[in-house]
Symmetry: C2
Subunit: 139 residues, 2 copies
C-alpha cells in the first residue's frame, strides 16, 4: 500500500533524485549507531505506522521490513530529521541485540587501525543460525 | 592535493556512482549523533591525515573542512566502515559543542511528534554570532 498523497510531514522531507533519504538507526539505550539504510516515502510512512523500521532495499529494489527474516526488528521510539531535511535518524530498541546481517551488534564493525580496516566487534550469532540456508540475507 | 592512488584501505570503500559515501559523525563522549555528510576519496584521506572531519560538500561542490568558517571542527578519534563498506562513521570530539549550522548541538533536531516535525533542540549560539554576515554557511 503506497503512502497516501499530501501528507505534509512526508512532503517536507527532501527526497533525493531517486526518491530516497539515508536513515541512521541508533540504539536508544546504549547510544550505539547500528545501521545506515535507505528509505523512500512509503518506507518512512510505514515505519511510523508499524513503529518498526521499514527501509527501501537498493539491492533488492523493494521495501524491506528489517527483521522480516531474522526477527531482528528495530522498534522505533523516536524519529528525527536533520537541518537540511535530507537525512533521517531513528532511535530504536534493537530486537535480539543484533542489527547486522553478519550477526554483530552493529553494522559499523570495521575500524581503521594503521591503514587497515580491522574487525572490531565480535559475531554474537552465526548468520547460518539466524537465516538458515537462505543466502539472500547477504544483500 | 588528491589522495594518492593505490591506497588499499581507500580502495576497499564502496564509493557510489558519484564517488561518494555517507559519513555519520557521533560524539565520542555523549554518543549523540551529530551530522550526516558526504565524503569522496580525498575527503576521507584528508580526514585521516588531519584527524579532523573533511567532507565533500554537494551544495558547494568542493571539499569542505568542517569548521573552516565556524571553528566548529570535528576532531576525529575513530573511523568506522559498515558491513557493506558503503557508509562511514566517525567518533569525534565536537569543538564548541555545536555541530549544526543553525547553532544547535546536533543537526538532527527535528523530531516527529503527532505528524509534525518539531524543533526539539535549543539553539546554543545564534548563527550570526558564528558566521557574521557571511550567509554561505546556510548551504
Amino acid at each position: 500500500m503506497p503512502a497516501p498523497a499530501n501528507i505534509v510531514w512526508l512532503d517536507e522531507v527532501n527526497w533525493n533524485s531517486e526518491g530516497l533519504v539515508p536513515a541512521i538507526a541508533q540504539d536508544i539505550n546504549s547510544g550505539k549507531v547500528l545501521t545506515l539504510a535507505w528509505m523512500d516515502r512509503e518506507a518512512l510512512y510505514l515505519t511510523l505506522q508499524k513503529r518498526q523500521a521499514v527501509y527501501w532495499s537498493r539491492s533488492k529494489q523493494r521495501l524491506w521490513h528489517k527483521g522480516e527474516k531474522s526477527g531482528h526488528t528495530q522498534l522505533v521510539k523516536e524519529i528525527y530529521l536533520d537541518c537540511d531535511k535530507d537525512a533521517v535518524m531513528l532511535k530504536v530498541i534493537q530486537t535480539g541485540g543484533i542489527a547486522c546481517h553478519t550477526g554483530r551488534q552493529s553494522c559499523f564493525f570495521h575500524r581503521l587501525e594503521n591503514n587497515c580496516w580491522i574487525e572490531a566487534e565480535p559475531v554474537i550469532k552465526n548468520p547460518k543460525d539466524i537465516y538458515g540456508n537462505d543466502s539472500s540475507w547477504s544483500k
